[in-house]
Amino acid sequence: MLLGIETLLLILVLILAVVSLWIRDLMSSVVVFGAYSFLMCLIWTGMGAVDVAFTEAAVGAGVSTVFFVAVLFNTTRRIQFNPLDLSAKIFSAILCIGTGYLLMLGLSDLPSWGDPQALVNTNVSKYYIESAYKQTKVPNLVTAVLADYRAFDTMFETCVVFIAVLGIFMLLKKDGREPLKETSAKANDNLIIRVASRFMVPFIQLFGLYVVAHGHYSPGGGFQGGVILGASLILVAMAFNIEFVKQLLSIKRMLLLAVIGVIIFAGWGLVPVFLGQSFLDYSAWAALLPGTGEIMARSHSMLAVEIGVAITVMCGMYGIYMSLVSDGRFDKGL
């Protein structure tokens, strides 16, 4: 594990992080930050965390860079050079070194990197690995634990996305009084990009649906699929102007879908409560779904729950992009 590719990547990641903070121009530091996230995905794939790498690539690297660019597009790119006031920098440096030292202090008795007998890998997660398939018939253990054993966490995760999109929409929504000032770039109606994106978008969305549907068998699931679907909408918004996209999915409908996604997830968990079982206990669905045993009911309800997540995340990413890029007026975009 040590001399493998991870060590090299870790050093590279460190360099990228430092560079991204030091670059003067904001846009390029965001691009370097995007590269930093992509390298992070590679490290995590190296360590066997495929689902996390997928999410980081889609959500962490892809979408957040787009958000950064959306904000920077209408504001400044340059940093005003400020006199280097040493006192604040030194004070914070000491503070961080102190906390760093404290963390190092705790290192001495942590298990070394990647040994399977460490307590963290033998206590609870051993049970998951051994019995997840038997109890839920879902080969992808990550999705099994994500959507069933700790479904409550995931439900709140979807709420987090919903809160983000609602909060951003509420904060930025202007009543349209003062129009967005003329940005330098002309609305690009570049034919080639439009044709290429019109060709690619259906495939992207198909792939997104595939990822959502195949969350059980291959890496992926609600979040990653939702982000891909959201990304396809963002691609259309970038290629064409915002008016065009709003016909596809208007802002009101987007918010409504975001709520419905969460309601699907929470509702699916609520039904067992009405049937007398505890919240999010999918085995209660066996009674409702025709011809499925307790275990199969779990795996089907996981799919349903993933769909709910996908809807919310799709509308979430799309909504955040639309608000950020048009500063709440939803009239002109990137």
Binding site: S64, F67, V71, Q80, G100, L107, V142, L324, D327
Partner: protein
Amino acid sequence: MILKFNYVIMIILMMLGLWAMIAKKNIIKKLIGMAIFQTGIILFYISMGAKSGSNIPILDYYDRYKPIDAAQYANPLTQILMLTAIVVGVATLGLGLTLARKIYDDYKTFNEDEILQEIKNEHD
């Protein structure tokens, strides 16, 4: 100590993020620092769950029914926690950017010192 190399990197990343959040004057740089800080923590959790020489935690077709040896597969629990952490990170980033955007609308700058200056002369 050599075997604990990844924790050292994780600590350096976190402290870098923390330092940027506090010392950097530009608001966007602060947000990048915050994102780096969060990815540092995610790295810590994932490297906890990594098992050397282990497979990804997806049982392929053949050995679903064979007795499963836990050491073969990476730890799924830490990965789930980190899925949530990434999504939370993006949500916070989104909100941070919105606030940065509104600050820019009001004060026309991302530089912290200029904003505080403007508040001071607004105040008196």
